[in-house]
């Protein structure tokens, strides 16, 4: 099952999104937060992100969702710390972090491929809230 990692500047945001997404998840699904800095302050930490990716890892790969600016830079940096075999099976979604995470978790829970999970997460960009 594709693992999901949530990268936010805020530890609370990352954990909150994981909590919410887990409600839609299978019991053994890996959904990990990588939020805030080691000292608890606001920010993103590439080492924290690379640890979360490794913890969420299986051969099915990992999808990473990010919030603002440096979350993506830190994730790019984290990729450089990973073994090539892992890095090749990690994707970063260009998606709204919360809606994308829910979509990704549901898609992953039915055993879909990494590319399918990525596509569903990115599809959340088109999701209407008011019709």
């Amino acid at each position: 099952m594709v693992g999901i990692v949530i990268v936010s500047h805020s530890a609370k945001v990352a954990e909150g999104i994981c909590d919410l997404a887990r409600q839609m998840a299978k019991a053994d699904q890996k959904i990990l937060p990588a939020g805030g800095m080691a000292d608890g302050s606001i920010g993103t930490d590439a080492f924290k992100v690379s640890e979360a990716i490794q913890a969420a890892w299986s051969d099915d790969g990992v999808l990473v969702l990010v919030d603002l600016g440096s979350a993506l830079l830190s994730t790019d940096m984290a990729m450089e710390f990973l073994d090539e075999a892992i890095r090749e099976r990690v994707r970063v979604a260009d998606a709204p972090i919360l809606e994308g995470a829910i979509g990704a978790v549901v898609e992953a829970s039915v055993g879909s491929s990494l590319e399918q999970v990525l596509s569903t997460a990115e599809g959340a960009r088109e999701m209407r809230k008011i019709i």
């Binding site: 920010g43 590439a46 080492f47 600016g69 940096m77």
Partner: protein, 212 residues
């Protein structure tokens, strides 16, 4: 110029001092067009780097720069963490195993650092970022080298070009980073990243000017 281990650590300390002294200034610049944490974030990184360098008295310049980059990545938190982290990691490669630096090596280090920032930030000059200070600085440095000026003079000219680059950032709209959310409203403000780059360059120049 000879930079033996201890002077290299002292140089890192001087750059850290400059960042910490400008903490409020950098944060106030970032408050105008960003999320008001640039000075706070960089100061936290600078203090961590200072401690790391002091604990590695026998490291060569390349190893010190590598440790600096890794420390910035894990302590800064904002976009400047991965950006400056990458810059220092890349600059470490030409300095590997060295205990002294010449102009050619510094040129390679600057070029590698700037390329690192471009790669990481997917940015180019003119987008109101640190590149608007660093690229003109690099060009001035290379011109100085080609004119066979002393290294300190090359650095002085680079710093002056960086200062002009900071002035230029007041005239343009941000298209990268948090400031890009402001669009037109980012005009008239100098870029915090270009400013912190210039502060670091000025601190390095000042240190080398005073070095025996």
């Amino acid at each position: 110029m000879t930079l033996l281990n201890n002077p290299a650590i002292a140089l890192i300390g001087a750059v850290a001092d400059a960042i910490v002294q400008n903490k409020e200034f950098l944060t106030s610049l970032d408050a105008a067009i960003g999320d008001a944490d640039h000075g706070i974030n960089l100061s936290r990184g600078a203090e961590a780097v200072r401690a790391k360098a002091a604990a590695s008295p026998n490291a060569d310049i390349g190893a010190l720069l590598k440790a600096t980059g890794m420390t910035l990545i894990s302590t800064v938190g904002g976009a400047s963490g991965p950006l400056y982290g990458t810059a220092f990691l890349r600059a470490a490669a030409p300095a590997q195993g060295k205990t002294a630096l010449d102009g050619e090596t510094v040129k390679l280090m600057l070029a590698a650092a700037i390329q690192g920032i471009k790669d990481r930030g997917k940015a180019t000059r003119g987008e109101k970022t640190m590149l608007d200070a660093l690229e003109p600085a690099f060009e001035a440095f290379v011109q100085g080298l080609e004119a066979q000026k002393p290294l300190v003079e090359c650095l002085e000219e680079a710093t002056e070009a960086a200062r002009q680059g900071v002035e230029f950032t007041k005239t343009i709209i941000a298209t990268k980073g948090r400031a890009s959310y402001l669009g037109e409203r980012s005009k008239g403000h100098q870029d915090p990243g270009a400013t912190s780059s210039t502060i670091m360059l000025a601190a390095i120049t000042d240190f080398c000017r005073k070095a025996p």
